[in-house]
């Protein structure tokens, strides 16, 4: 159980490093946008992991049995709802940012015929 959790944590760290590498090193604008999307998604996963509980069967924070017994079961097994509520708005704003960047890349491709930042910056003539 602890090892699985540690595996998740270390893969989150690895994915953050890989996506930052992609944003910084890859010359293709589309790949930069994809890496930024992965980066924001993995940050959301990390935030949701903060609310995780290592109980036997974790429940989503939704009441299904409308009685006091159901509430007790929910308190016993449900994950923390607060990080999930905070990520929802982050996802929507992230969608807006991704749309803006994707259309920017489309227009750069139309105007200059390339999305390679090396060619756009004229590093290699």
């Amino acid at each position: 159980m602890t090892f699985a959790l540690a595996l998740i944590v270390s893969s989150i760290v690895a994915i953050i490093i890989i996506s930052l590498y992609g944003i910084a090193v890859r010359p293709n604008l589309v790949k930069k946008i994809i890496c930024l999307g992965i980066f924001s998604d993995i940050i959301n996963v990390a935030v949701i992991l903060l609310g995780y509980r290592a109980v036997e069967r974790p429940l989503p924070p939704v009441l299904t049995d409308y009685s006091q017994k159901g509430v007790e079961e929910l308190v016993k097994g449900a994950v923390d709802p607060l990080p999930q509520a905070l990520t929802i708005t982050a996802i929507v704003i992230g969608l807006a940012i991704t749309v803006l960047m994707a259309y920017g890349a489309i227009h750069i491709q139309r105007k200059y015929g390339t999305v390679d930042v090396r060619k756009l910056a004229r590093w290699e003539e």
Binding site: S10, V62, I93, Y103, K111
Partner: protein
């Protein structure tokens, strides 16, 4: 080959990191007090939001001010886009769109997406989902239409930028009215339960939560539609 070696090195590093971390990691089994308060009070309890869906209850009731101004941020972003693109000539390109197979597929998928988005938004106070998620799903439909048919097809079907702005303004006005109404009857700003009914005709509406969800559904969906319509304009300005 080189890619394979890099990949296996990364995998090894991840597993080694997990081995190193696992003795130091203490898995959390207890809720913190705030989370437990939300879970206990969202449906029953003294500070009830009347909603079995705790995330929606937090979003529109306990942390309602957060979400209210989050909506304001989205509003300002789209108003910024609209005012920047205001004098842009309305031109369309790709007049033929994709093949008939793609078009038929988009018709089917668009309908299903629309229904799924509406279900997600309108049941947001009972099941996982809500206005933000439903609105984002709704905005996928015009995007698909723009890509598969053309921008002109969307505008010919009646969804122009002006109409999307009207829909969005209706959504935002509803949010503002529902948020300000409790002040008139002596409550607090964005107050939920004693002001609005928990059940209407035997249906669980969770006070203002379902109203907020529907309004946010319209606002987010139409707002993203405006952005898609504006940004799918080809460059038609002067050659500088």
């Amino acid at each position: 080959m080189r890619k394979f070696i890099t990949l296996s090195l990364i995998m090894l590093a991840v597993i080694a990191g997990a081995y190193y971390l696992s003795p130091h990691l203490v898995p959390k089994t207890e809720l913190n007090a705030l989370g437990e308060f939300y879970l206990r009070n969202s449906y029953f309890g003294e500070y009830s939001a009347g909603s079995p869906e705790v995330v929606t209850a937090i979003l529109w009731d306990y942390r309602g001010l957060d979400t209210y101004f989050e909506t304001a941020v989205l509003f300002m972003a789209i108003i910024g886009a609209v005012s920047i693109f205001r004098n842009m000539p309305n031109v369309s390109f790709h007049p033929y769109g994709f093949t008939d197979i793609t078009k038929t597929g988009v018709k089917i998928v668009g309908l299903i997406t629309f229904v799924a988005a509406a279900t997600t938004a309108f049941h947001g106070h009972i099941t996982p989902g809500g206005g933000f998620q439903g609105g984002s799903m709704l905005a996928v439909v015009p995007l698909l239409v723009i890509v598969a048919f053309s921008k002109k097809a969307l505008e010919k079907a009646g969804l122009t930028k002006e109409r999307a702005l009207v829909i969005r303004t209706i959504g935002l006005l509803t949010i503002a009215i529902v948020a300000f109404y409790p002040l008139l009857v002596g409550g607090y700003f964005m107050q939920n339960l004693p002001v609005y009914p928990k059940e209407l005709y035997g249906m669980l509406v969770s006070g203002s939560l379902s109203l907020f969800n529907m309004a946010e559904f319209l606002a987010v969906g139409a707002g993203f539609t405006i952005i898609f319509l504006l940004l799918s304009n080809p460059e038609g300005g002067s050659e500088a």
